[in-house]
């Protein structure tokens, strides 16, 4: 069933229809919020608030202007940015991720994996927000380059450029990290 039809149903008062949209977008919203460096508990709270806000403001969703994906991700982006300003996540990130990732002990292989995940989280937190968002959005199959351009309010070419530049930055940051360890 098309997102637009579901949204129309919700607008007409069929609250239960919104469940379909939550199921459809919960995973991509979680994935996107992951790029901000929030811990898993906060991601859960923020994602819930994003859907709640989406439901409350469904009347303002105009399907002639944007797709539902574009609309809900714009809400998610703005709310996540707002939340990030309120909490000093970047500074806390080291400790949080260390605690989360090092809970699994005595399993070397898993530790190596956790370590690389930790470095990637750190590197993502260090690159400028516009590049990080572009990378995160580009890994979501629910969004096309056109959708991302609308959410970020830039040209499609700029999105592609941000994705590639972001990856170059990440690669450099990760190779510096690898160099430090050697």
């Amino acid at each position: 069933m098309d997102d637009r039809l579901i949204a129309k149903q919700v607008k007409r008062g069929n609250t239960e229809a919104f469940r379909l949209l939550v199921v459809r977008y919960e995973r991509p919203i979680f994935s996107f919020l992951q790029s901000f460096g929030f811990n898993s508990e906060d991601i859960n709270d923020i994602a819930q608030e994003v859907f709640l806000r989406g439901f409350k403001s469904i009347a303002s969703f105009d399907d002639s202007k944007a797709s539902f994906a574009t609309w809900i991700f714009t809400i998610a982006k703005n709310y996540a940015l707002n939340q990030k300003k309120n909490y000093a996540y970047i500074h806390e990130l080291n400790d949080q991720v260390l605690i989360e990732n090092y809970q699994i002990e005595n399993q070397e292989a898993e530790n190596v994996q956790a370590d690389s995940k930790h470095h990637l989280s750190q590197a993502l937190a260090r690159i400028p927000e516009r590049f990080r968002n572009a990378i995160a959005f580009s890994f979501l199959k629910e969004l096309s380059i056109k959708d991302i351009a609308k959410i970020e309010d830039v040209a499609e070419g700029t999105v592609k450029s941000r994705v590639h530049r972001g990856k170059i930055m990440l690669r450099e940051l990760l190779s510096v990290k690898a160099g430090e360890q050697v």
Binding site: T15, F30, S31, Q48, L52, S121, K167, R171, S175
Partner: protein, 125 residues
């Protein structure tokens, strides 16, 4: 030698930007360790990012969202509630005291005179 280094740098730039390589460039790339290392690095990064962004949604998340939505939607104030709510908010303002007092006086003073002329004078008190 310098030309080849330049060529490899250009190819590396293209790889980094994920631009398509020509057949000639691909042939150079196959024999260049630098290019291959870069391709491997980028593939590894993409794989890492792909894993990083594929998160599991906690069980019951959707129900939690819907419960929140229903929780907020359950209380729909009736029109009576809205009038009472409006009055209590209106009377909560400090500035409302003066207009209420003036309004009361406007109503009370003429009524006082009316009572005086209509009741006490005819009785001759």
């Amino acid at each position: 030698m310098t030309n080849q280094t330049e060529e490899i740098n250009q190819i590396k730039e293209k790889i980094a930007w994920e631009l398509p390589l020509t057949e000639e460039e691909q042939a150079i790339c196959i024999h260049s360790k630098e290019c291959q290392a870069l391709i491997l690095q980028l593939d590894y990064l993409n794989a890492q990012l792909s894993t990083h962004f594929s998160v599991n949604v906690p069980e019951g998340f959707c129900n939690a969202v819907m419960n929140k939505i229903y929780g907020e939607a359950v209380y729909k104030p009736s029109s009576d509630d809205r009038i009472l709510d409006f009055l209590s908010r209106l009377l909560g303002y400090q500035w409302i005291e003066a207009p209420v007092l003036i309004g009361g006086l406007i109503f009370a003073i003429p009524n006082l005179f009316r009572t005086f002329f209509a009741v006490f004078i005819p009785l001759g008190i």
